[in-house]
């Protein structure tokens, strides 16, 4: 019982981290048409940016802002320098996936070259532990969950109620028709890279906080979990990604409590494959 509860606690934290990343990834994909496999590498770049600011003396919770800025800038740069030029030249979506994989390696090795291959961790305290009806969570873990909830509500509100959010959904649904409505799709796409890049930097930092110590390639496997959550929910569907993150986060951590923890990523994909066999478009389908 307490093993189950403990693993549920871990699962919720993993879900919270994963949800931020998966929502960013899926929105990016929906609006820009790029399945950006460099997403996890940009997460790491954000985590390192936070590390630098944290090293310089700032609290990690302040450093998160630097990570978001770094993620936004790096993503916008990747869009301008890599993805949009290739899209303009008519590169097929599958070609862009391969290009993004190459980009991931370049970003990752770039970080490794700058930071060295060493593991780093933030200067921070984990805070007290709290017993929430058997769920044991630290203050830091509670903060991560709270940040994630705020992001989810914020993304929901933006997509539903703001002009920009609706323009993003319209652009995702039908870019040409959006332009015929007068929406400057190119600008919406650039803003989307910035916003989802900020989520990416945030996700990278809370990921690094959660795992404790990290290096340039720490998010490699996490990318797999992001993809599982995104496709479980239906690619391009932000609410699907939230649901997918919850299922994958809980599924991997709870299973890890009962079977060898090394298999938890296998579990993620077993869940995904089983679900896709039943609903090939994902839990909530493709649309946001």
């Amino acid at each position: 019982m307490s093993l189950l509860l403990a693993s549920v606690g871990f699962g919720l934290v993993t879900s919270a981290v994963l949800a931020i990343a998966a929502v960013g990834f899926t929105l990016q994909f929906a609006v820009t048409d790029v399945l950006n496999l460099a997403f996890a590498a940009v997460m790491t770049a954000g985590a390192f940016a936070a590390y630098l600011v944290n090293e310089a003396g700032a609290s990690i919770w302040v450093a998160i802002v630097a990570a978001m800025a770094a993620g936004a800038v790096l993503s916008a740069v990747l869009n301008y320098v890599v993805y949009t030029p290739f899209q303009r030249r008519g590169a097929a979506p599958i070609t862009l996936v391969i290009i993004s994989l190459g980009t991931a390696l370049i970003v990752e090795f770039g970080i490794a070259a700058l930071a060295g291959g060493i593991n780093v961790s933030y200067l921070m305290s984990q805070g007290k532990t709290h017993d929430l009806g058997g769920l044991i969570l630290t203050t830091v873990q509670l903060i991560i969950i709270a940040i994630s909830l705020v992001v989810m509500v914020g993304v929901y509100a933006m997509l539903r109620y703001t002009k920009l959010g609706k323009a993003m959904r319209a652009t995702a649904a039908n870019r040409m028709l959006a332009r015929s409505c007068g929406i400057r799709a190119g600008r919406v796409i650039a803003i989307t890279w910035g916003l989802t890049g900020a989520l990416c930097g945030l996700a990278g930092t809370v990921f690094a906080i959660d795992v404790g110590s990290f290096n340039a390639s720490s998010t490699d496997i996490f990318l797999i979990l992001i993809l599982a959550a995104v496709f479980l929910g239906g690619p391009g569907n932000a609410y699907g990604a939230m649901l997918g993150a919850l299922v994958i986060g809980l599924g991997t951590e709870v299973s890890a409590a009962y079977i060898d923890a090394d298999y938890k990523y296998v579990v993620a994909f077993v869940i995904l494959l089983a679900m896709l066999a039943v609903r090939p478009t994902g839990l909530l389908g493709a649309a946001t």
Binding site: K163, K166, A167, R169, A170, A172, A173, N174, M176, L177, A178, R179, S180, C181, G182, I183, R184, A185, A287, T288
Partner: protein
């Protein structure tokens, strides 16, 4: 010439290979309904796409209200007061009906949006009862009405309508042409409309262009065209007298599809 809301001159465009339409010239004045008819594949949609900025033209010129929009980006064309309803993919499927209308009014000041929406619902009353529904789950006819309502939100000075009556029952199609499309033109906009239902659209047109094989074949007022035996033969299905006497039920005799 400057009185024309829309002038397209020598438009030549295609999809990468040989041009699909060659040197098409047409004009429409404010308050006019100008129709384009022709068999399937004759290039009607291609022409509208080129005017709407969705497709690059390799030659030609498009002027809207005195402004040169030749090969302008689609969003620039929209910002110049051109409302385009494509033949397919004409709504934002995952968005609700209300959100679709809001996107149609994207360029409209926020404070003016509710009034515009009210006006659109006056013109298309059925939209009013389905504002919360997802556009992708509407019937083909409901979708077309939404697509029309969407461009009406912009209150454009030029409407480009690509087969707005597709998927509509013949009687409803006729009503749409006679009432709603006519309403659009009455608001002092120019309506350029592509239609398969030659007879029905002729009845509401001020002027009609006939396309064939990517070129303009004929043009004239409906009265002039119905004097042309070749036109009557190919588009209205039979001799002129017979054609005119045809029963209502045949009214949707489709150009080219027949």
């Amino acid at each position: 010439m400057s009185a024309d809301a829309l002038t397209a001159t020598g438009v030549t465009a295609g999809y990468g290979g040989d041009p699909v339409i060659r040197s098409v010239t047409l004009r429409a004045q404010a308050g006019q309904i100008v129709s384009v008819v022709g068999p399937n594949g004759s290039g009607k949609s291609t022409l509208l796409k080129a005017i709407a900025g969705v497709l690059r033209m390799s030659a030609g010129k498009v002027v809207v209200a005195g402004r040169d929009l030749t090969n302008a980006a689609a969003e620039v064309v929209a910002r110049s007061g051109v409302g385009y309803v494509p033949q397919v993919d004409d709504v934002f499927a995952p968005l609700t009906v209300r959100e679709n209308l809001e996107m149609g009014g994207y360029l409209v000041a926020r404070s003016a949006v509710p009034d515009r929406m009210e006006h659109v619902i006056e013109v298309f009353p059925r939209l009013g009862s389905m504002l919360r529904r997802q556009a992708g789950k509407l019937s083909g006819g409901e979708r077309k009405m939404l697509a029309m309502g969407r461009v009406l939100m912009l209150a454009p000075s030029v409407f480009l309508l690509d087969e707005p009556t597709a998927n509509l029952a013949p009687a409803i199609a006729r009503t749409l042409l006679e009432e709603q499309v006519t309403t659009l033109a009455r608001s002092d906009a120019a309506v350029l409309i592509v239609e398969q239902r030659a007879r029905a659209v002729l009845a509401v047109s001020d002027y009609t262009y006939v396309m064939g094989g990517g070129e303009l074949r004929l043009s004239g007022t409906p009265a002039e065209l119905t004097e042309s035996p070749a036109f009557v033969e190919s588009f209205l299905g039979g001799h002129r007298d017979q054609a005119i006497q045809r029963s209502e039920a045949d009214d949707h005799a489709d150009t080219g599809k027949a």
